[in-house]
């Protein structure tokens, strides 16, 4: 019983046993407000998002030319509503990220996501680049205490900007074999269809698996990737044509 109450956030004030044997429960009164479904916070964003949004950490102040960073990475477009630019200082010996500065154009979650990413990669003496390359949007979201569904795409960009910057560092230090090419990940080894091909197909009006297959032949000889392809199509379809009607 107590676990049930705890689970449903019901607090009992002076529990009295009444005739039926049920404790008299009082449901805690809350002010009507926007509630984050992940954390129960009474704001559309979690407390962590809120604090990183209002008090962003590590954003770039001053003239970039004088600051002497090793590399930079940029992602997004102003038309899309999010642009992130990051600058890194990497210790070549330990391959740890010593400095991570950023500037972001975007909504609250975009700003908070870059801010927390800067903390993630620089805390505890800096993160090794091999680990930093593996940061997923989900990791950023977890640290942020969750994001509203439709805001998830914003947190995506931070890790991408970071990967682009690290790739640039590989280029700069002539470690070409370590460069990871993004957006051109091959989904189907037979047809060599990439994520970017799917995006283009959707943009050109192929919004179902059948239509995309007609255009790209993806997955016809390699059914393993179909599920992933379907997910990609759904993602791009909703991105460019609005949410699917239920």
């Amino acid at each position: 019983m107590s676990q049930f109450l705890k689970q449903h956030k019901i607090s009992i004030k002076n529990p009295k046993v009444v005739l039926s044997g049920m404790p008299k429960i009082k449901i805690k009164k809350t002010k009507p407000d926007i509630v984050n479904k992940f954390t129960g916070d009474k704001w559309v964003y979690s407390k962590i998002v809120k604090s990183h949004f209002f008090y962003p950490k590590n954003f770039l102040v001053g003239d970039i030319k004088k600051l002497n960073f090793d590399v930079e990475g940029i992602i997004g477009s102003p038309a899309c509503g999010d642009v992130m630019r990051v600058w890194l200082k990497i210790d070549p010996k330990t391959e740890k990220i010593k400095k991570f500065k950023w500037r972001t154009f975007g909504c609250a979650s975009a700003i908070a996501a870059t801010s927390i990413l800067s903390v993630m990669v620089t805390e505890k003496g800096g993160m090794k680049i091999d680990r930093a390359l593996k940061i997923k949007p989900q990791d950023i979201m977890k640290r942020l205490g969750g994001l509203p569904d439709r805001k998830i795409h914003c947190s995506v960009l931070g890790d991408k900007a970071l990967r682009i910057a690290i790739n640039n560092w590989f280029k700069k230090t002539e470690q070409y074999e370590r460069i990871i090419i993004e957006g051109s990940r091959i989904l189907d080894p037979n047809t060599k269809v990439t994520e970017a091909d799917i995006e283009e197909a959707v943009l050109e009006g192929a919004t179902t698996l059948e239509a995309v297959q007609k255009r790209t032949k993806v997955g016809i000889g390699y059914s393993k990737c179909i599920l992933e392809v379907e997910e990609l199509i759904k993602f791009y379809r909703e991105k460019y044509y609005g949410p699917d009607k239920k």
């Binding site: 962003p56 038309a79 509503g81 154009f105 993004e182 957006g183 992933e228 997910e231 609005g242």
Partner: protein, 418 residues
């Protein structure tokens, strides 16, 4: 203690006026709870209350009492006007003309009708936010049954040349000796400040809403000129001349009437006062903040509207920073909408997405005073400065020509779930 707040979103909704409107409504919630269809005294009281309200509203609209139908909202009134006329006149024609800056209540029902075989023609606004009567002339033909054009759009507050547009329709009808097309206008935003006498405008149907004029939510209405052939969209007990069945929302109806007549009483004085405040805000923002552009028509605009784009920063972020100080405004940015689409009205004005993301709408109302404006002018520049400091952008002011295509969204961005 109540937290201080500075509300600048009167185009979204307004508070109920307490002294006259709310007090008039009160008794109808519990003491005078009768159903107006009943014959006994309580029912008769309700009926009298409705008639009083209808009297107040028809005084302002200068129409007959039976020409006004209460609905549950302005959206419902829009739906009734469009679907009601379409369904009743299917045999006469299948074309409906609407502008591309209509309220969603109109655009959504139109897309439903499109699936049922109606043809929806779009009258596009010009860059300054105005509709061109000449363009309308070219769109109308024998098969057009309805023209629905907004009086004032809900984002920039631009006032359409409604009389000229009606003139086009009237000339067409006279030439063809036809009753069609009918002319409907959504005057939800306009009703508080502009002339809404139906004969002056010459319209056949008009939507108004109570909660935009210091009345209650959950009540709107449609003016339907006598002789207009229209079918209901809600069927039931035949209330409101069978056009809108359902037990009447008496408190809402009472509040609507009181609010409308009260608002119109103070209209002239209030218009001058609000315009002065708005102009001060506009002047102050343009003076204190660089790289700001005005959305909508510079002069042909409701006195309480100010829609601007502040470049290089994003509207939702700005909105939340302002909210922290108690300043409430709205934005057309994609991040603020459910489907992550930037405002379609600002898109219709051919503003590039880059500009729409930084848009902010102030809509003033009777609660605003001089110190509210001063507060905004004091704080907004600081917030803009902070957000610009963390923004990597430096957009040129004159990218008006280039409207971003969906292609602009591509940037090697793979989705986030991988």
């Amino acid at each position: 203690m109540k937290k201080k707040f500075f509300y600048f979103d009167f185009a979204s909704t307004t508070p109920i006026e307490k002294k006259y409107v709310f007090n008039a409504m009160k008794t109808y919630f519990s003491d005078e709870f009768g159903n107006s269809s009943s014959l006994y005294s309580l029912g008769r009281h309700a009926k009298i209350a409705i008639e009083k309200s209808l009297g107040q509203i028809s005084d302002v609209l200068r129409c007959k009492q039976d020409e006004f139908v209460f609905t549950g909202s302005a959206t419902e009134a829009d739906n009734l006007a469009i679907a009601g006329v379409a369904m009743a006149n299917k045999e006469k024609g299948h074309k409906i003309i609407v502008s591309n800056i209509e309220h969603k209540g109109i655009l959504s029902i139109c897309s439903v009708l499109k699936k049922q075989g109606f043809e929806i023609l779009e009258l596009k606004v010009k860059k300054n936010g105005l509709l061109n009567p000449k363009d309308l002339e070219n769109l109308i033909d024998n098969k057009t049954i309805l023209v629905s054009l907004t009086y004032v759009d809900s984002e920039t507050g631009t006032i359409q040349p409604i009389k000229d547009l009606v003139g086009v329709v009237k000339r067409f009808r006279k030439e063809k000796k036809s009753n069609f097309p009918y002319f409907h206008t959504d005057a939800s935003q306009a009703a508080l400040y502009l002339d809404v006498a139906v004969d002056n405008l010459g319209i056949d149907l008009m939507t108004i809403s109570a909660h935009k004029m210091y009345g209650p939510k959950g009540i709107g209405g449609l003016y339907v000129r006598r002789g207009v052939n229209i079918k209901p969209i809600i069927y039931g007990g035949g209330q409101r001349g069978s056009l809108r069945s359902g037990t009447e929302n008496i408190p809402g109806i009472v509040g609507f009437g009181e609010a409308f007549s009260l608002a119109r009483k103070n209209q002239k004085k209030e218009t001058i006062r609000i315009k002065k405040l708005r102009d001060k805000l506009e002047y102050g923002i343009f003076k204190k903040i660089p790289k700001v552009i005005l959305n909508g028509h510079p002069t042909k605009r409701l006195p309480n509207f100010l829609n601007i784009s502040i470049l290089d920063i994003e509207g939702e972020a700005l909105l939340l920073y302002l909210d922290k100080l108690g300043i409430m405004v709205s934005t057309g940015s994609a991040c603020n909408s459910q489907n992550l689409e930037p405002s379609y009205i600002l898109s219709a004005l051919r503003r590039p997405y880059e500009f729409i993301h930084g848009s902010l709408r102030f809509s003033l109302g009777k609660c605003n005073e001089d110190f509210h404006i001063n507060f905004v002018l004091k704080n907004l520049p600081t917030i803009v400065k902070k957000l610009r400091a963390i923004s990597p952008l430096n957009l040129p002011l004159n990218i008006n020509k280039k409207v971003s295509e969906p292609k602009a969204f591509i940037g090697g961005q793979t989705p986030h779930f991988f």
